[in-house]
């Protein structure tokens, strides 16, 4: 299996003078493989280490005014909450966003790689922006070449290109789907419930943002592995813009304010004799 290393080629071969780092011969850049006796077993263990990290809720949908992208901000390791302030919406470039679900390191690296190596290079070489279709296809191909090696990536690529708004779901198994609405992560069933029942194509930006925020909030309420802050981004013809980042704990009491309950037994002041 030939690994797709187009994403890894650095600028080094262009500067022939600085060859000290390359040992005299230009070796093809590649990830170092671990030196173990049982490579498959080691990879299986690595997969198990990363697997619990798909505890998250992310969603994105296309509507009249563009693409709405939202995510929670909790990172969990089994039962322990390791962070409540993780950035799960990655800014690939000023008009494309990627969402993070699965292994944090995997998502961060490959999105950054996509933005810098793939999209920027395409823009410079072809004098025009890369389409969402193109970017997601290139990412899917890269991930497919690493299939079975333990990468854990469940991402949505959302952007606005010449054909209008675009949304693709790409995962580390090599799957790539085009669609109008997606939600990824352990909290996605709960988010789908709210998203699907409240969705209309012709919503205003505020309505769509509120729908996305509500869907994330409901997922954080029911799912133990989602929580923290509900971030909402909008991708329009001029690029993406962060609309809000609300703490989910406060959102609960905003949607369901505490009503004073009837007191069953109350102690009354007894006047001293």
């Amino acid at each position: 299996m030939k690994l797709d290393t187009t994403g890894l080629e650095s600028a080094l071969p262009l500067f022939g003078a600085n060859c000290q780092m390359v040992d005299g011969f230009t070796a093809a850049p590649a990830f170092e493989l671990p030196t173990t006796l049982d490579f498959d077993g080691f990879q299986k263990e690595a997969i198990q280490m990363v697997k619990p990290a798909k505890g998250t809720t992310t969603l994105a949908f296309i509507f009249k005014e563009g693409v709405m992208v939202a995510a929670d901000s909790r990172a969990s390791m089994g039962g322990y909450i390791s962070s409540q302030s993780v950035k799960k919406i990655i800014e690939i470039n000023p008009y494309m966003l990627g969402t993070m679900a699965g292994g944090a390191a995997d998502c961060q690296f490959w999105h950054r790689n996509l933005g810098i190596k793939v999209c920027r290079l395409h823009e410079l070489a072809n004098k025009r922006r890369i389409s969402v279709t193109g970017a997601s296809k290139l990412l899917a191909n890269i991930l497919y070449s690493y299939r079975g090696m333990g990468l854990s990536v469940g991402t949505m690529i959302a952007g606005w290109d010449e054909t209008g708004p675009g949304l693709y779901y790409v995962d580390s198994e090599g799957g790539r789907l085009k669609g109008p609405r997606f939600s990824v992560g352990s909290g996605s069933p709960y988010a789908y419930g709210v998203l699907d029942s409240g969705y209309r194509y012709d919503m205003s930006i505020e309505e769509a943002a509120e729908l996305a925020r509500r869907a994330i909030y409901h997922a954080t309420f029911r799912d133990g592995a989602s929580g923290g802050v509900a971030s909402v981004y909008h991708v329009g013809p001029n690029g993406w813009k962060k609309l809000s980042g609300d703490d989910v704990g406060e959102l609960h009491y905003k949607y369901y304010p505490v009503t004073p309950s009837t007191v069953e037994q109350e102690m009354v002041e007894v006047s001293a004799a």
């Binding site: 505890g55 909790r74 969990s76 089994g78 039962g79 322990y80 909450i81 409540q84 352990s186 954080t220 309420f221 029911r222 799912d223 133990g224 592995a225 989602s226 929580g227 923290g228 989910v248 704990g249 609960h252 009491y253 505490v258 102690m267």
Partner: protein
């Protein structure tokens, strides 16, 4: 996730000056999914004795029903309430009876014994008693609770200060645990009154 983490729970009891407080979270879940946010984990055995049961919810309910049954029989025979020390021994014996097929619970017992001296203890799932002078913890958030209580505990606290300290310790700890939280329940028991409060916490 282990069987103890199937439903998720957080329990803590703390000793003050002639009083004690026992607090729990309110979540009942099935692994990561939250089913209920008003689950009762602390039960009153009598006015000066409370037991909280963490771990598998079905075992916690069954164990509580068994303990109530035994205590009622004791009340009928002895015509008085059980002392906390005696009750702790009863819990320990009942758990060890199932040594080779245990209840997946970790109880926290808190009561006022003779001379209104507060008594707290916890046992593991097969009945090993652990008496403590300051605080005891149980549940999926147990490790976080140990840290929070150790940092916030002071000896001989009055009931109001004890309530504040215990609520802060509980809420801080469950905010670091996926499987417990969604509010809190706290009982502050002094020789003259029992105060029951519901805590407003993060619902995520």
């Amino acid at each position: 996730m282990s069987i103890f983490e199937y439903n998720g729970s957080a329990l803590v009891a703390m000793v003050g000056k002639n009083c004690f407080a026992i607090a729990s979270d309110r979540r009942l879940g099935v692994q990561l999914q939250t089913i209920a946010t008003d689950f009762q984990r602390i039960h009153k055995i009598h006015d000066r004795l409370f037991i909280g049961l963490s771990g598998l919810a079905t075992d916690a309910q069954t164990l509580y029903q068994r303990l109530m049954f035994r205590h009622k029989l004791y009340q009928l025979r002895e015509e008085r309430d059980m002392k906390p020390e005696t009750f702790a021994s009863l819990v320990s014996a009942l758990l060890y009876e199932k040594r080779f097929g245990p209840y997946f619970c970790q109880p926290v017992i808190a009561g006022l014994s003779d001379d209104d001296k507060p008594f707290i203890c916890t046992t593991d799932s097969i009945g090993a008693k652990e008496l403590a002078k300051d605080f005891v913890v149980a549940g999926t958030a147990g490790d976080s609770l140990y840290g929070a209580c150790e940092a916030m505990f002071k000896p001989d606290m009055e009931p109001e200060e004890l309530f504040e300290t215990l609520s802060q310790a509980l809420l801080a700890s469950v905010d670091r645990d996926c499987l417990s939280g969604w509010g809190g329940h706290i009982y502050i028991v002094t020789p003259t009154e029992v105060k029951e409060c519901t805590l407003k916490g993060r619902m995520d």
